[in-house]
């Protein structure tokens, strides 16, 4: 059992937890993720490690309430226990002094971009961060991101904060005016797809972190398979970060939809399967 030490609602749909998990905190690095199971009947879902505190023995995660499990998780409070927490999983980010770096975080993807931007900044890179959301009310961590970036650009779809634009607009401005060595982009699959399309025209290496459906997240089930440069890879053991220019995003988006009908049933509390 893993205790929730802190809960913060970052917006109506986005929640932050600090979870007591000392051994995971010792090992966690930027780019890792973990699996949790809320209760005995719960499913295993992957969530990003947005931060970690080795001294306190906590990991921080930020999640958006989209499905049954994340909605249920949102009802947990400080002092409550999560049944299972497994991690740190996946390969951590490759951090080096690349030179000029742009970090792009979209929606809830701002959270996993944060430790990567911080690590890149600490490694000596000049970091510009672009964070975007549909609207000001669901934007979070502006100050945190500002502290680990040389420049911060904010975009919202409705213009309620920062520039009224999608993240690719300021990204393209930067790419067209100066030489960038690396772009890191995490967010909805469609955002990452368009970021990669933009950077491809400028031939700038782009790392994305994928959010496939997983069960065990140790390579056993193969549910998280994605196609990278025409080859099948497992997000959990080969990723979650990949060269964005090689990712088949259309396939990823289709695979993320695989259980939508079942999700609908679960949310409505309906009955589906036969033989009991």
């Amino acid at each position: 059992m893993y205790k929730i030490l802190k809960k913060e609602d970052l917006s109506e749909q986005i929640t932050l937890f600090d979870i007591e998990a000392g051994d995971i905190a010792q090992k966690a690095r930027a780019g890792n993720f973990f699996i949790l199971r809320t209760h005995e009947q719960g499913e295993r879902i992957p969530l990003t490690i947005a931060d970690f505190d080795r001294g306190r023995g906590t990991i921080t995660t930020v999640f958006q309430k989209v499905g049954k499990t994340t909605h249920h998780l949102g009802t947990f409070n400080e002092g409550d226990y999560i049944t299972d927490v497994i991690g740190p999983l996946g390969n951590h980010s490759h951090i080096d002094n690349f030179g000029r770096v742009v970090c792009v975080g979209g929606g809830v993807g701002i959270a996993p971009v944060y430790p990567i931007a911080r690590a890149l900044k600490e490694a000596g890179n000049k970091v510009t961060s672009i964070i975007g959301a549909r609207s000001k009310s669901i934007l979070f961590w502006e100050e945190k991101m500002r502290r680990v970036s040389d420049d911060l650009i904010i975009t919202t779809d409705d213009g309620s904060c920062g520039t009224k634009a999608v993240v690719t607009v300021p990204l393209e401005d930067i790419l067209s005016s100066e030489k960038v060595d690396l772009v890191v982009a995490i967010g909805p699959a469609v955002m990452m797809k368009f970021v990669c399309r933009t950077t491809a025209t400028y031939n700038v290496k782009t790392i994305v972190s994928l959010n496939s459906i997983m069960i065990d997240a140790t390579g056993m089930c193969g549910g998280c398979r994605v196609e990278i440069g025409g080859e099948t890879k497992y997000t959990c053991v080969d990723g979650p970060e990949f060269d964005g220019h090689l990712v088949d995003f259309d396939l990823l988006m289709k695979r993320l939809q695989a259980y939508i009908p079942e999700e609908h049933t679960a949310m409505c509390g309906g009955k589906m399967n036969g033989g009991k």
Binding site: M220, K254, Q257, E262, T265, A266, M272, G274, K276
Partner: protein, 480 residues
């Protein structure tokens, strides 16, 4: 019971028919997840035990990878001492209720039974299952007295059948044993792989409970290689020795077009959803599974049979089992093939899948196949299937489950630089002891041999436990 009556029974046993276990009728069980056979009643077990000739040298015992005293426990059944019979089995095997159900007895103990020369061998597996279930239903779980602590700590990595067996043996030797498991529940393949109707999870839980009562400490949610490395266990955390028994892991795919369409999922995924996550109880349990109206399972092993039978029980209208050779070459147990036939699985033999067809929305809607014929024998001695030109055809489906075996999982091994692995990623270990290239570290089961059976992993666990004991005495290491 008098001695004279028993002697008469032994005489009679030569002509007696084997007592078959009663089963749920095929068409009823094909729609539920309850166990297929009902198990013996004490009377049935007594009758079947009476067929045993109590051979002095006990050839059956040589066929058992963990050396259960088979004539001994059957002798106790003959005396109606069912609990004692169970304790007798447990002297050598901590998982009798599991082994009674899933061991391939026909290739092991029962294949050596003298009764099998003229008729059917004694149903050793059924009897083992009976005594274990009898203990659970009637007796207190007898916990052997704990020996004096040796002060030694051993880490067993992986709580499948091999890890459980090794942990028990080491705990009985007085060591402090920690069993690390990557998933949230102990049991490995017994929990995530083998379906409820073949091995009820309550039975696995009961056997695991026995093991924890022996003093084994269980740590779930521990992915070794990620949370801790082997070196951290041995150095920082004070373990004197490790046994790695993590199974094989990564599912194999065919590498054919359309394999990543929605609706195509590995047998590992399908079974993990159904068994570990209890997706057959969705939406009471949160994990969904693709039920499918028309399901194709690809492969001919036990995992393929399990997948096909799970699909049927979930409510599929039609389940095809597509296999590239003929039924004679299938690696699955004959009994499982028979069960699958009875339940109405349609076998599409001498057929190779060539690709999956997209319905235009990213879902699989058909599997393209080609007919095969058997040619010359290959390196396994089985006749190699070769495609028949122009025989392409399609089967309409909405779920496809490749059950093609697994390959080595690199998560642990890649974090142990001085652990020798072979070209395919399996750990190189001495057969008799499980000794590896890294002092103090032993390995066994599928991560050494590739996909095999529950009982073979248990045998490896037993041998490794003996070797760990020797190592802890002398701390001597010579790996060739």
């Amino acid at each position: 019971m008098g001695v004279s009556k028993m002697a008469t029974m032994t005489e009679e046993s030569k002509t007696k028919e084997r007592v078959e276990m009663r089963e749920q009728p095929p068409l009823v069980r094909a729609r539920n997840f309850r166990e297929v056979p009902y198990g013996y009643s004490p009377e049935e077990a007594f009758e079947e035990a009476g067929r045993c000739l109590s051979c002095k040298n006990g050839p059956c015992r040589e066929g058992c990878p963990v050396g259960v005293d088979i004539p001994g426990f059957i002798g106790l059944i003959k005396e109606r001492r069912y609990l004692d019979a169970c304790y007798k089995v447990k002297e050598r095997n901590a998982l009798p209720a599991v082994c009674g159900r899933v061991c391939p007895q026909e290739l092991q103990c029962e294949s050596r039974c003298l009764m099998g020369k003229k008729g059917k061998p004694v149903a050793i597996g059924n009897l083992e299952r009976f005594v274990a279930d009898y203990e659970a239903a009637n007796g207190d779980m007898k916990i052997p007295e704990r020996p004096r602590s040796t002060g030694r700590k051993v880490a067993v990595i992986g709580s499948g059948p091999g890890g459980l067996t090794c942990a028990v043996d080491l705990a009985k030797s007085g060591h402090h044993v920690t069993l690390f498991e990557a998933l949230h529940k102990p049991g490995g393949v017994l929990i995530y792989g083998i379906p409820e109707f073949r091995l009820p999870k309550a039975i696995v839980e009961r056997e695991v409970e026995y093991i924890t009562k022996l003093g084994v400490e269980f740590v779930p949610n521990a992915v070794i290689g990620k949370l801790y490395t082997i070196d951290e266990l041995m150095n920082g955390r004070g373990y004197d020795s490790c046994f790695i028994c993590i199974g094989a892991g990564l599912p194999m795919f065919l590498g054919i077009p359309g394999e990543n369409l929605n609706g195509v999922c590995s047998a590992n995924e399908y079974l993990t959803r159904a068994n570990l996550m209890k997706a057959y109880l969705f939406p009471e349990y949160d994990t969904p599974i693709k039920v499918g109206k028309r399901v194709a399972v690809l492969g001919g092993g036990n995992v393929a049979m399990d997948s096909a039978r799970v699909a049927l029980r979930l409510g599929a209208e039609k389940v095809y089992l597509i296999y590239r050779r003929s039924e004679a070459e299938m690696p699955a147990r004959k009994a499982e093939v028979h069960h699958a036939h009875e339940e109405g699985i349609e076998f599409v033999l001498l057929t190779n899948p060539a690709g999956f067809v997209d319905d235009g929305k990213g879902n699989v809607c058909a599997v393209e196949c080609i007919k095969m014929e058997l040619g010359e024998p290959d390196e396994t001695g089985r006749r190699r299937p070769v495609p028949v030109k122009g025989s392409e055809f399609q089967i309409e489906i909405d779920v496809a489950i490749p059950a093609l075996g697994t390959r080595a999982n690199p998560i642990l091994t890649k974090t142990v630089p001085d652990l020798m692995i072979n070209r395919k990623g399996y750990i190189v270990a001495e057969e008799g002891s499980g000794m590896t290239s890294k002092p103090g570290v032993f390995a066994g089961g599928d991560i050494v041999t590739g996909s095999a059976t529950v009982i073979l992993a248990m045998g490896a666990g037993r041998r490794a436990a003996n070797a760990v004991n020797e190592y802890l005495k002398w701390k001597y290491w010579e790996f060739k």
